[in-house]
């Protein structure tokens, strides 16, 4: 990868004035408000916000797991249409996700082999010979430093958190999606496994020109990996821009507070109580 500033011109996903309201009447919650959002091909975007800021809701809308209340979502130049199962399947071949809790992402009754085999089926590769399927699964496991021979016969609960999260990335490796939505992919694992996971995701991005959307509350991570940052508060974007700009020179008071609340290494941490 070069050190030049990358330019992204091809828009992959665009949302126009997307809203999401849960409930109705007095008890309704406006989780996402007039969200305008751009995701370019090959770009890494992070959405940062505290719990309850609506970032996961937005991710679910983008994934097509939740329906937006109103607004438009444009995928690859066309209005996104998820009206039939067939269309949804086609959409999910292009857009995939990693979730926060590795322990609850896999079906506990399926062995690792079946989980990986299902990826091939979803890609309509079910007709391949068993040897060929195994080879592909082995490759995917190797990519994430797991040993297929040790794992294929295990159930998800027999793996550690870090292993499961890596298995999740092995799935992504096999699915070859255009877009990956990573919802707090590293919040449940320690710093050391975190860098391993990030390393693998960056490798995928470089090899495949994959577009990644990180949803996180970890400012350090967002700053480190992303090209563009969105800061969300109460369903609204309060600040957006180039990652270094937003973190090193925050404009909005909310961003400033967020940045100052994170312990740094070299800067002093102001521990005065308000």
């Amino acid at each position: 990868m070069s050190n030049q500033k990358k330019c992204f011109d091809q828009v992959l996903i665009e949302t126009r004035k997307v809203n999401k309201v849960f409930g109705s009447g007095k008890k309704s919650v406006h989780a996402v408000k007039d969200m305008d959002f751009l995701l370019h091909k090959g770009e890494i975007v992070s959405i940062v916000g505290q719990s309850g800021s609506g970032k996961t809701t937005l991710a679910k809308i983008l994934l097509g797991l939740l329906k937006e209340t109103n607004g438009e979502i444009i995928y690859d130049g066309k209005r996104r249409d998820l009206s039939s199962l067939q269309k949804r399947r086609a959409y999910w071949q292009n857009i995939q996700a990693i979730f926060q809790d590795p322990f609850s992402t896999f079906n506990q009754f399926f062995r690792v082999e079946k989980i990986l085999n299902d990826c091939l089926n979803l890609q309509e590769l079910g007709h391949l010979s068993i040897e060929e399927k195994r080879d592909r699964m082995r490759d995917a496991c190797q990519f994430v430093n797991l040993k297929y021979e040790e794992l294929y016969n295990k159930y998800p609960f027999e793996l550690s958190g870090g292993q499961m999260q890596r298995l999740m990335i092995a799935r992504i490796f096999m699915m070859k999606p255009n877009v990956l939505i990573a919802d707090e992919p590293t919040s449940m694992i320690d710093a050391c496994s975190r860098s391993t996971i990030l390393d693998m995701l960056m490798k995928l991005r470089d090899e495949r020109q994959m577009t990644i959307l990180f949803i996180t509350h970890d400012l350090g991570l967002a700053y480190y990996v992303s090209d563009t940052l969105y800061i969300m508060e109460n369903g609204e974007t309060v600040e957006r821009g180039e990652a270094s700009q937003v973190i090193l020179n925050p404009q909005h008071p909310y961003t400033r507070r967020l940045v100052s609340d994170v312990p740094k290494l070299r800067e002093e941490w102001d521990l005065e109580l308000a």
Partner: protein, 347 residues
């Protein structure tokens, strides 16, 4: 020199599995803690940090068992005391513990004030009920909890408030040593900052004499701890002041750990992120030699042959590594030279 509050020598504790195997999660740990100081314990998940925290209380529930060593609080070895004395005179008064998951530590069917009365009626029999409540109220006030929290059930409070309530309950008797096991890992950055600031304030006002702070978040330790020990597979592998360990780590494991820190700070984006290959050894059968050897880039044959002893190389600093400090530093420097290829994560 300040008074030494806690002295742990060669502590060993193990879990007994159903197959009657002994798994040593804390294997020969020695540490000292002076009054007014905060000792940080760092390490990845599963290295024995939390087991060490539990073990320091001198209080063992199966499957955790005591395997040897001594824990001295103000010169008294609490492992030699009968269980009743330990419970009435030490737990809560001399040494207290803040558990990792505050949400699970509180009985959901009891109001917070009743937990406090429980604790006080056991340890402070001289107080009337009104005095107990007002003492608790003072503590809650100090931790910026509203009056309402006192009469609330745990489920009525937010995560940050629950964590502060647990801290209030743990420190009701102004313990000499407070063991905080990841007190802020379940909180968002803003509540985390409040909790940390309050813990520091307690220490400054001498409500707590000294603290052991366990976390895997190293930037946090940099601001909280005076000294840091790094733990790996049940053993301590390096010790130093927090500045020394974070900015000038010596042991290859701590070096790799420090290189995996990500903070939103200038220059971070250009830094190379390291990741340690492989996984920690299974504690059921740990290697005889250096426990980190299989994942270490600098391991030589001698590393695997016999148990590596602690090597004190300067005042208050030690490492558990065969290589000399000078050669380790030289190796790190050589690795730091710009390379065209490598495991760089970013640009």
């Amino acid at each position: 020199m300040a008074e030494q509050v806690l002295k742990v020598k060669d502590l060993k504790t193990f879990y007994r599995t159903r197959l009657k195997e002994n798994v040593y999660a804390v294997d020969g740990v020695s540490l000292e803690l002076e009054e007014g100081k905060v000792l940080g314990i760092a390490g990845e998940s599963g290295c024995g940090k939390s087991t060490l925290a539990l073990s320091l209380m001198g209080f063992y529930f199966p499957p955790l068992n005591f395997g040897g060593g001594s824990i001295e609080i103000n010169g008294t070895d609490i492992m030699k005391l009968p269980y009743e004395t330990l419970r009435t005179h030490y737990l809560g008064k001399e040494i207290a513990y803040i558990p990792q998951a505050a949400m699970n530590a509180l009985n959901p069917t009891r109001k917070l004030v009743h937990f406090a009365i429980d604790i006080l009626s056991e340890h402070r029999k001289d107080l009337t009920k009104e005095q107990m409540i007002s003492l608790t109220r003072e503590k809650f006030d100090f931790l910026q909890l509203p009056e309402r929290a006192l009469w609330a059930y745990p489920s009525e409070l937010s995560g940050g408030m629950k964590q502060r309530a647990v801290i209030a309950l743990s420190t009701l008797l102004n313990p000499k040593v407070l063991i905080a096991d990841e007190p802020s890992s379940a909180l968002d950055v803003s509540s985390q900052k409040v909790v940390i600031a309050l813990l520091r304030k307690m220490l400054n006002e001498k409500l707590v004499k000294s603290m052991i702070f366990i976390t895997h978040e190293l930037p946090l330790l940099r601001h909280v701890a005076d000294e840091i020990v790094v733990m790996y597979a049940g053993e301590l592998v390096e010790k130093g002041t927090s500045e020394q360990v974070i900015f000038d780590p010596v042991h290859p494991y701590s070096y790799a750990l420090m290189r995996s820190i990500i903070v939103p700070e200038e220059g971070m984006k250009a830094q190379k992120l390291s990741c340690i290959p492989g996984a920690p050894p299974n504690l059921k059968n740990v290697p005889e030699g250096c426990r980190f050897a299989d994942r270490c880039a600098y391991a030589i044959d001698a590393c695997r042959q016999k148990k590596i002893e602690i090597d004190v190389f300067s005042e208050g600093r030690y490492k558990r590594c065969l290589h000399s400090v000078a050669s380790l530093r030289a190796m790190y420097e050589a690795e730091d030279l710009p390379q065209e290829t490598g495991g760089s994560v970013h640009e």
